[in-house]
Amino acid sequence: MIEVLYFAWVRERIGLPREKLETGATTVADLVDELRAREPRYAAAFADISALKVALDQELSSFDAPLAGVREVAFFPPMTGG
C-alpha cells in the first residue's frame, strides 16, 4: 500500500489531492505507467513527465528511482515559491 499525492495542476487534472494505491510497480516510471492506464484524467496529468517532478517520502527524487520501501509518492509541477 502506497500513498500518492498530487499538487497544483496535477491535482486539478486528476481531481483529487491524494489516494492510497496497491501497486506492483518497482520504479516511479512503472507507477506512472500504471496510473496513465487507469483513466484519461491520469493520462492527461502524466502526458509529459518532463514537465513534472516527483518526491519520495518527502525528498525530491527522479522517475527512475526504485519504490521499494517508499510509503509516500508525490507528483507536482516545478516549484514556484519565493
Binding site: Q58, A74, F76, P78, G81, G82
Partner: protein
C-alpha cells in the same frame, strides 16, 4: 535559526527587528521580502499551495546548509501559503553574519533555493482568469552558481 510556514500575514519589519535584536555578535544583517505585485490592478491576489510535511523539513535542510557554508550567526525563513492580497509579503529570509559578503550570499542562496526547490506553487488571481505561475528557466539557472 527559525523556519515558519504559515497562512497568517506577517510584518517584515517587525521580523527584522526581532531577528536583529536576537543575534549576538553579528556585523551584518540582510533581509529579503517577496511581495505580491498588483501589476497596475490586473492582479487581484494570489493563492499558494504547499506540501505540508515536506515544506518545513526541506527548508530547514537548506537553511542548515547556508548556516554552515557562510558561518551564519543566525537565519530566518518565513513563507506563507493560502490566499494573499496585492502588497502583502509572500515570504522573507533574513541572514546574520560577521561580514556583509557572507550575509548577502547566504540570503541569495536561500532565495534561489526557495524559488525552485521548496514545494510551493503559486496561482495568480487575475481579472482575465486564474493561472498557475510557470517556473522560470532563469530561476533554475540561478541555482547553478552555488554548485
Amino acid at each position: 535559526m527559525r523556519v515558519a510556514v504559515q497562512s497568517a500575514p506577517f510584518d517584515v519589519g517587525a521580523e527584522v527587528t526581532a531577528f536583529t535584536s536576537g543575534v549576538r555578535g553579528a556585523g551584518a544583517v540582510v533581509s529579503f521580502a517577496g511581495l505580491v505585485r498588483d501589476e497596475g490592478g490586473d492582479l487581484s491576489g494570489m493563492e499558494i499551495e504547499h506540501y505540508p510535511g515536506m515544506t518545513e523539513k526541506a527548508i530547514l535542510g537548506i537553511v542548515g546548509q547556508a548556516v554552515d557554508r557562510w558561518s551564519l550567526k543566525d537565519a530566518l525563513v518565513i513563507h506563507r501559503h493560502g490566499a494573499l492580497k496585492p502588497g502583502e509579503a509572500i515570504m522573507m529570509v533574513a541572514t546574520a553574519a560577521l561580514h556583509r559578503m557572507d550575509a548577502f550570499a547566504a540570503a541569495e542562496f536561500l532565495m534561489d533555493y526557495l524559488k525552485s526547490r521548496a514545494p510551493f506553487w503559486k496561482r495568480e488571481i487575475r481579472a482575465g482568469g486564474d493561472a498557475w505561475v510557470a517556473a522560470k528557466e532563469a530561476d533554475e539557472d540561478a541555482l547553478k552558481r552555488w554548485e
